[in-house]
């Protein structure tokens, strides 16, 4: 049980507890704050996975943009100053069952694969991870690597931008 495992356990527990609070709390804005804590926990997990760029992009995108959007939408769509008394709808027992079943299925998935070997980290891999940022940049623009998904993603973002402005904009 070395230090990285202890850190992972602490962070994972915090993330899961925050996620549970997101889906069960009655006060929606508190739920959004718990979501921010959960997203931060996920960013720390990325740092543990030695993907520093992904961790920072997670904070910038999810916490700095999406969470703010969610809080904005929440504040703009409140019916009265008080919150709804019931935040869970009538089918919550079945939903809990489905969620538990999916968790069991996902974690038990590997027992269905006959040739599955759990991969372990080779200690030499860490040294080759540096310089990844430049590799990532090259990979996103090389025509024989990932230029096409990059362009498609940018078209998707422009479509989403125009769509969001068109849908939510004030009709004059």
């Amino acid at each position: 049980m070395d230090i990285s495992q202890i850190i992972f356990l602490i962070v994972a527990t915090a993330t899961l507890i925050s996620a549970l609070m997101v889906v069960t709390t009655r006060n929606l804005v508190h739920g959004a704050l718990w979501l921010i804590v959960a997203l931060f926990g996920v960013a720390v997990v990325f740092v543990l996975l030695e993907a520093g760029f992904i961790a920072v992009v997670q904070v910038v995108l999810f916490i700095g943009a999406i969470a703010i959007l969610i809080i904005f939408a929440m504040m703009l769509t409140r019916r009265a100053l008080s919150d709804e008394p019931h935040q869970t709808n009538s089918q919550w027992p079945i939903s809990a069952l489905v969620a538990a079943a999916s968790f069991v299925a996902l974690t038990g998935l590997t027992s269905f694969l006959p040739d599955w070997q759990w991969p372990s980290l080779a200690a030499s891999d860490s040294a080759q991870l540096s310089g990844n940022l430049q590799q990532l940049g090259y990979a996103l623009v090389q025509p024989n690597q990932f230029a096409l998904p990059f362009q498609v993603a940018s078209v998707l973002l422009i479509v989403a931008l125009i769509g969001a402005v068109a849908v939510a904009g004030e009709k004059k």
Binding site: Q5, V57, A73, L156
Partner: protein, 102 residues
């Protein structure tokens, strides 16, 4: 050394919690928060597999970056739709949006 199974279990648990949030909440914005949790679980999975299976390659990180872009696009359009619905019907409770139900 953190075994890969721990990361996958964390991602599966996050996914299950997000799934419960999507299925069991009334407010549309709360449903969207559940979707965000599920997307985060997927990204954890992607990055964990990248780190353990092919750390010298770059396709795992590229996949994760594209998923980030898709998540941002989806969240913005979803919230724009919710705000537009609120303007029309003055409510964001998902059960009350039943005009297209038979």
């Amino acid at each position: 050394m953190i075994p890969l199974s721990w990361y996958l279990t964390l991602a599966a648990a996050l996914f299950a919690i997000g799934l419960y949030g999507v299925l069991a909440r009334r407010n549309a914005v709360a449903i969207l928060m559940g979707v965000e949790l599920m997307i985060n679980a997927v990204i954890i999975n992607l990055v964990a597999f990248w780190r353990y299976l092919q750390p010298t390659g770059i396709s795992g990180q590229v996949f994760a970056v594209i998923v980030f872009a898709v998540a941002a696009a989806e969240a913005s359009v979803g919230l724009a739709l919710i705000i537009s619905i609120y303007r029309r019907r003055n409510s964001v409770v998902a059960e009350e949006m039943n005009l297209l139900k038979w």
